[in-house]
């Protein structure tokens, strides 16, 4: 199982280590550093690195490498999933997961890691349970603790730990009972230079914030559940009822959680909400290139496309650009060649455009590679797949909760080739 964990920051320092079995010398990380050196970008460090006696499995999040050391055959996905869970827990506890935050809370971090793994076996990874064992630091609690001398470690066995619903603690009480659900969809797409879709798929999630007293039993039904190709549930969802009736029936955890993630297929059913017209030309023998880019909405069901951001890695030969945006602002970094255009909202009457010229190195030949545009956007109140929640019912408790459902569509990896 998982032997040790090292946290490495972007400058290559190990700033935290934790061992669950015997101590593994931190020199084992040298193999990791070698691999890091070989990779051109931090993102390109291979996730599994063999060393003579150990295997290093790492994930990169928030510019921190989480490097786990294993010695025997352990499923790598198990380790990677666990590492991501560690990051999520830190983020949940400290608001952000940065080197500073971890160093500021090093003892809590240590307590958490000790609680999450025992001898390399996962022990408690549910945020609800962890929070009962180790209270998250808040300014108020720190003050109170210093005055009263009380601790931030729970004295009682977490109530949910061994019940049939391990994700929910008992005795939850709220004065305002509310349940909110956010349906968030991300479109991943590759559009080719002529504007036709090469591949497009939708990754959706339903995130919930449930603050309900007692042991509520909820059911949530969709108008069109057949849309969903593949679904992954929070353990609280009763799978049998989904199989039989296509409804989500569950006793929710307390607080925030991801109820469901789903996938809508790549078989050309996906509506593409924006289009891009572009014209990027380099003339042979000239040190100038033309650049034209126009964005427009399509298939948005009448909703506005907001927070649009276009980024692109221009060819290495481009020295600088001189562009004129019809709206928003653009930046170009001559070192990394990264062009970024913050468009804002697309007005269908007056389409945003970015036009101008690029200067190339004199005498350099025409660049071989074509830049790809990466587009980010948001559309409020729309689930682009067409998924709609039909109703939400509560059983098991007497009060009437306040219910709310919100839809949003975002760009995931949305790329336009030129």
């Amino acid at each position: 199982m998982i032997h040790s964990l090292f946290l490495v920051n972007s400058s290559g320092d190990i700033f935290l280590e934790k061992h669950w079995k015997s101590v593994v010398s931190r020199s084992v990380c040298d193999y990791f550093f070698e691999a890091q050196e070989r990779a051109t970008e931090p993102e390109n460090v291979p996730p599994v690195i063999p060393t003579p006696h150990h295997y290093l499995i790492n994930v990169l999040r928030h510019k921190i490498f989480f490097v786990a050391v294993i010695q025997t055959e352990v499923p790598p996905l198990f380790v990677i999933e666990f590492l991501h869970r560690v990051v999520d827990t830190f983020q949940d506890y400290f608001g952000v997961c940065t080197e500073a935050a971890i160093k500021d809370n090093v003892v809590v971090v240590y307590e958490l890691l000790e609680e999450m793994l025992d001898n390399g076996f996962p022990l408690a990874t549910e945020s609800n349970i962890l929070k009962e064992l180790i209270k998250p630091p808040t300014i108020l609690r720190t003050v109170v603790n210093t005055i009263t001398g009380s601790t931030n470690v729970g004295e009682q066995l977490p109530t949910g730990q061994l019940s049939v619903v391990p994700w929910r603690r008992t005795g939850v009480k709220y004065t305002n009972n509310e349940a909110y659900f956010d349906v968030v969809e991300e479109i991943d797409a590759i559009i080719d230079k002529s504007g036709s879709t090469i591949t497009a798929e939708i990754q959706g999630v339903i995130d919930a914030c449930v603050k309900l007293t007692g042991m509520p039993d909820l059911t949530l039904s969709f108008m069109n559940p057949r849309l969903l190709d593949d679904v992954s549930f929070h353990p609280c969802v009763r799978f049998k009822r989904w199989e039989a009736e296509r409804i989500l029936s569950f006793i929710p955890p307390d607080g925030n959680f991801r109820l469901l993630s789903y996938h809508v297929s790549s078989q050309n059913l996906v509506a593409i909400p924006v289009y891009v017209k572009h014209n990027i030309t380099f003339r042979e023998g000239s040190s100038q290139g033309r650049f034209e880019l126009t964005l427009g909405p399509k298939q948005t069901m009448g909703k506005a496309v907001e927070s649009v951001l276009v980024t692109s890695q221009l060819p290495r030969g481009v020295l600088n650009v001189n562009l004129n945006p019809s709206q928003g602002t653009y930046t170009f970094d001559p070192v990394t060649k990264l062009l970024s255009w913050d468009v804002g909202k697309i007005n269908p009457q007056k389409l945003p455009s970015l036009k101008g010229s690029m200067s190339l190195q004199t005498g350099a030949s025409k660049p071989d590679e074509n830049p790809t545009f990466n587009i980010q956007f948001k559309i409020q109140q729309l689930a682009i797949s067409g998924l709609k929640v039909n109703r939400l019912d509560m059983y098991g408790e007497k009060y009437k909760p306040f219910k709310g459902i919100k839809y949003m569509t975002k760009a995931g990896k949305f790329q336009v080739r030129t």
Binding site: L16, K18, K21, S22, V23, A39, E43, N44, P46, P47, V48, H53, V59, Q71, T72, E73, V74, P75, P76, L77, I80, E81, F82, H84, K103, V106, V107, Y110, E111, D118, N119, F121, T125, T142, G149, T151, V153, E155, L157, P166, D192, I198, T199, E201, D229, D230, S232, H234, P235, F239, K240, W242, R258, S261, H263, S266, R316, E369, K413, Q415
Partner: protein, 952 residues
């Protein structure tokens, strides 16, 4: 007010100050001090000097302080074992605490303190905790057994903890079950042969129940454990699959992949025409696709596994090509994996899309990726014939870009396309020749030279082109030199008049000025060929080349089988068998896919004994690597794997052998004996022949003689005379007698049927009960004409070893049912184990040594064979006829020790040490095998072979 304050130090020694604070009376101050100590520890500072002071803080009712002290203890107890004893009392007391949280914490921490003295005190509390009323304590204690086992395995066994742990598998709480499974799996990893996780239908049922209720991590442990089980029949297999499928919808990708593993394995047992089989196939695709939308690290592991899955069952993802298209900001390791899978999924239906994508990738920035994309285009051309033309034109477009590495890759793949579709695309040669000067990588240069040599008759200035390469001959890499030599010889054979000078030049460069033995060898052989018999030379050098296979880079089928059983593990990420690389997994048992009962598809089954004579059935033979003389002769050294079929024409083999026998020694005079390099080169030629003959490939001149012996030998094992199995009285007049034999690598049951009744018998059929080695009739019992009274018919029934397996008592017992028009009759007989010895049972010496050591001594069995008059040589040769291979021989004090290896049809290896005392009748043998039950049978076999033949 954050923890970072713990890092600030004062001028006075830090340790000194902490010591004072730790000994403070104020609780709060103490706690702060311990926190500071922990903070220092986390960043790797040595604070072990504070050990006694910290341990003093342990006796407290403040849970946080207690936990902090425990954290410290775990880290430093090892370095201060004597001090650690001080903590024992508190631990023991805490294990009795009314609060289950504290009981669990105490037992958990004690297990983490890796000090022998402490572990002695741990046993009693642990025993109590394993039976604690609170499941939280029990599940913690279960893991503690694994910890203790890691420190002191013997202690765990002596104290009977393993049995208690096994009992916990039936615990009422699913979390406890999951942890017990996890602990047992970890312990089992260091005891490959122990039957710790004894899986039977009852325990499987318990695990499946716990699976639905335990945590995500517990589900992974249970699923991985389930994957080791072999269901009894397809019904059980289906019911397990049905109960595992819901796990595919889990949010944790590790759960999903472990579930995929179980399904992929158990699917193997389901009949293909079953509706459920199709449903299951459909259910597997969406979760695999979803894995690809996760974080890149998860994607990478998923992709490596998908790579296995598409090779094993291409139908699952055949419609999902698009999800493997590369996004430009994917990490490089994801890009390369996606590309690999794209090629595997490429088919006529989607080739247009794939090609368009690949062309797009070939203009990207990353050099590795671009190269692989260009190679992929070539692989598509070879795989999908209809697309070849488009691929070639795409490659030509890419060559026009003049990007150096793109051009070189393109030329390498075009060479393969020429091989696959001869006489189709040679029109592009002119374009290729234009780029001759820009090639600076050996592989590309060699490819180009091959093309020039192969099509010398169509290239007007072929001699000039080759001559230009010849100038810097000695600076080229071996690959290019060999290729150049061959190409010029080809050119000479095609245009002998103009190129005589050139060929002499290259031959002298290769033979006289080079110190590379491979190059010299090849040079001499060409030289001799050309000078003695130009016609033969033409036949050899310009021989028709075997086609190259469509799929390259395929994982070898048995490895693929094994890896399929290991989906989701490190082995699956590296595509290597687990035994190959994971340290500490001492002698991992090779896992195999289960075989469906009664399936006749022997080509699918892993342990079907490959009939030796039938070469066509062997998987596509990979041309042995460079330096292989025979391959080189046909200048195939650059070639990708050939398609199925004998790699070389048999007559060619003989030619090559002759050539070596007669030619070289005269050429080299007395030099041959003294040149080890020559010897190596010589032996490698027959080695290429060897695989098709079932003899092991080995190097060294001595092997050459071995080979000569084994080629001529009939590979049939020793046959026991027929015995009456079923007397006529018991079978309404049908008498059955028979025996078993292995002839030419095929198992046979040789039966005589005698009709002693008064009426004619017809409609014969035969069936076997399940048996230890899965023996089953490979065809129907063919009695062509009705059997009239008093007539006897002799039948050889070929057997396969892919039938259902069940352990029999005795091991070699076989229960048979024979039916005729009168009735069904049952009898049982015993087969000699020697019929199960397969032809490729010769182990490498090193492997033998390692395996011998690896098998525990408990598995060794010793026997004495009395009254047999053999010497070691006759023993060797007699045993060899039964596929018992002698690997080494050693003589110690007049005793000959023979080391022999045997492989059974089901892949089990048996190692034997046979001691033959010269001049005295009788020998001693010791048998080592991972399955010790077979030892007695092996002894019987030896006894029979050695004794009987000496009588004869």
């Amino acid at each position: 007010m954050t923890d970072s304050k713990y890092f600030t130090t004062t001028k006075k020694g830090e340790i000194f100050e902490l010591k004072a604070e730790l000994n403070s009376d104020k609780k709060e101050k103490k706690k702060e001090a311990v926190k500071k100590v922990i903070a220092s520890m986390t960043v790797g500072k040595d604070v072990s000097a504070l050990f006694p002071d910290v341990v003093n803080c342990m006796q407290t009712d403040n849970l946080e302080l207690k936990k902090l002290v425990y954290l410290y203890l775990m880290n430093y107890a090892k370095s201060q074992p004597d001090m650690a004893i001080m903590a024992v009392n508190t631990f023991v007391k805490d294990c009795e605490d009314p609060n289950p949280l504290i009981r669990a914490l105490a037992v958990r921490t004690m297990g983490c303190i890796r000090v022998d003295k402490i572990t002695e005190y741990l046993c009693e509390p642990l025993r109590k905790c394993l039976k604690d009323e609170d499941p939280y304590v029990r599940k913690t204690a279960a893991v503690c057994v694994a910890k203790l086992h890691d420190i002191n395995a013997q202690l765990v066994e002596d104290q009977g903890f393993l049995d208690t742990l096994k009992d916990l598998i039936s615990d009422s709480n699913p979390m406890v079950v999951a942890n017990a499974v996890a602990a047992l799996s970890e312990i089992a990893e260091s005891h490959p042969n122990s039957n710790l996780l004894d899986l039977n239908p009852q325990s499987i049922n318990k695990l499946l129940t716990a699976l639905n209720e335990c945590t995500e991590w517990g589900q992974i442990f249970i699923l991985d454990c389930l994957a080791n089980y072999t269901p009894r029949d397809d019904r059980e297999s289906q019911s397990i699959c049905e109960r595992v499928t819901p796990r595919l919808s889990h949010a944790n990708s590790a759960v999903v992949l472990s579930a995929v593993k179980v399904l992929m394995k158990f699917m193997e047992m389901l009949p293909k025409d079953l509706d459920y089989y199709g449903t299951l196939l459909k259910k597997l695709a969406p979760p695999l696709v979803t894995l690809l939308s996760a974080e890149p690290e998860l994607q990478y592991v998923a992709l490596r596994n998908i790579n296995l899955i598409v090779q094993k069952r291409p139908e699952i993802l055949k419609h999902e090509m698009k999800v493997f298209f590369v996004k430009y900001n994917d990490p490089i390791y994801v890009k390369l994996e996606k590309l690999d899978i794209m090629i595997r999924l490429a088919s006529q239906a989607n080739i247009a899309q794939v090609l368009a994508e690949l062309k797009e990738y070939a203009t990207e920035v990353d050099v590795d990726f671009v190269r692989k994309a260009v190679r992929a285009i070539g692989r598509c051309a070879i795989k999908v014939e209809q697309s070849a033309e488009r691929c070639v034109s795409t490659l030509l477009d890419l060559i026009q870009t003049k990007v150096n590495y793109v051009v070189q890759e393109a030329i390498v793949v075009i060479k393969d396309i020429f091989r696959k579709y001869p006489n189709k695309y040679e029109s592009v040669i002119a374009t290729l020749c234009e780029n001759l000067d820009s090639l600076d990588e050996p592989e590309a240069r060699a490819a180009m030279i091959w093309i020039v040599g192969e099509y010398a008759e169509r290239i007007d200035n072929a001699d000039e082109l080759l001559e230009s390469f010849l100038e810097g001959f000695h600076d080229e890499s071996t690959q290019v030199q060999l290729q150049l030599l061959t190409a010029i010889v080809k050119l000479f054979l095609k245009k002998p008049t103009e190129t005589q000078e050139l060929v002499q030049q290259v031959l002298s460069l290769a033979t006289q000025d080079s110190d590379n033995p491979d190059l010299r060898d090849r040079g001499y052989i060409y030289w001799r060929l050309l000078s003695t018999d130009p016609v033969a030379a033409k036949e050899v050098v310009l021989a028709e080349k075997p086609l190259i296979s469509e799929e390259t880079d395929l994982i070898e089928p048995t490895l693929l089988e094994e890896l399929t059983c290991h989906i989701g593990t490190l082995a699956s990420v590296y595509h290597k068998p687990p035994s190959a690389f994971v340290e500490g997994s001492r002698g991992v048992q090779h896992k195999r896919l289960p075989v469906r009962a009664g399936s006749g598809e022997s080509s699918e089954s892993p342990d079907a004994s490959q009939p030796v004579g039938v070469v066509a059935d062997t998987p596509p033979a990979v041309i042995p690597s460079q330096g292989d003389l025979l391959g080189d002769l046909l200048n195939l050294d650059l070639a990708p794997p050939t398609s199925s079929g004998p790699p070389v024409v048999p007559s060619m083999q003989m030619g090559a052998m002759d050539l070596l026998g007669g030619g070289l020694d005269s050429l080299l005079g007395g030099d041959i004996g003294g040149s080890p390099a020559m010897g190596g080169g010589l032996a490698s030629a027959p080695a290429a022949v060897a695989p098709s003959l079932g003899a092991p490939a080995n190097s060294g001149l001595d092997m050459l003689f071995d080979l000569g012996g084994s080629v001529g030998m009939p590979s049939g094992s020793f046959v026991v005379p027929k015995a009456v199995w079923l007397p006529a009285m018991k079978a309404k007049g049908l008498e059955i007698s028979g025996t078993f034999a292995r002839r030419g690598g095929v198992l046979q049951m040789e039966i005589s049927l005698t009709n002693k009744a008064m009426s004619v018998m017809t409609d014969f059929a035969i069936q076997f009960n399940r048996n230890s080695f899965g023996l089953a009739p490979a065809g129907p019992l063919q009695v062509l004409t009705p059997l009239s009274p008093n007539q006897t018919t002799e039948i050889s029934l070929p057997l396969s070893t892919v039938g259902p397996v069940m352990k029999m008592e005795p091991l070699n017992n076989l229960q048979v049912a024979v039916k005729n028009n009168i009735d069904v009759f049952y009898f049982s007989c015993q087969y000699p184990i020697s019929i199960l010895f397969v032809e490729d049972g010769k182990m490498e010496r090193q492997v033998f040594l390692a395996t011998w050591k690896d098998i525990p001594n408990d598995n060794e069995a010793q026997f004495q064979i009395k009254d047999c008059h053999v010497n070691s040589d006759t023993a060797t040769s007699r045993l060899q006829t039964c596929n018992i291979f002698t690997i080494a021989k050693r003589t110690v004090e007049g005793q000959d020790m023979l080391y022999q290896s045997i492989k059974l049809t089901n892949g089990i290896w048996i190692l034997v040490e046979l001691r033959v005392q010269t001049g005295s009748p009788g020998c001693m043998m010791s048998v080592k095998c991972r399955a010790p039950e077979v030892a007695q049978l092996v002894f019987q076999c030896y006894e029979m072979v050695l004794k009987t033949s000496s009588d004869a």
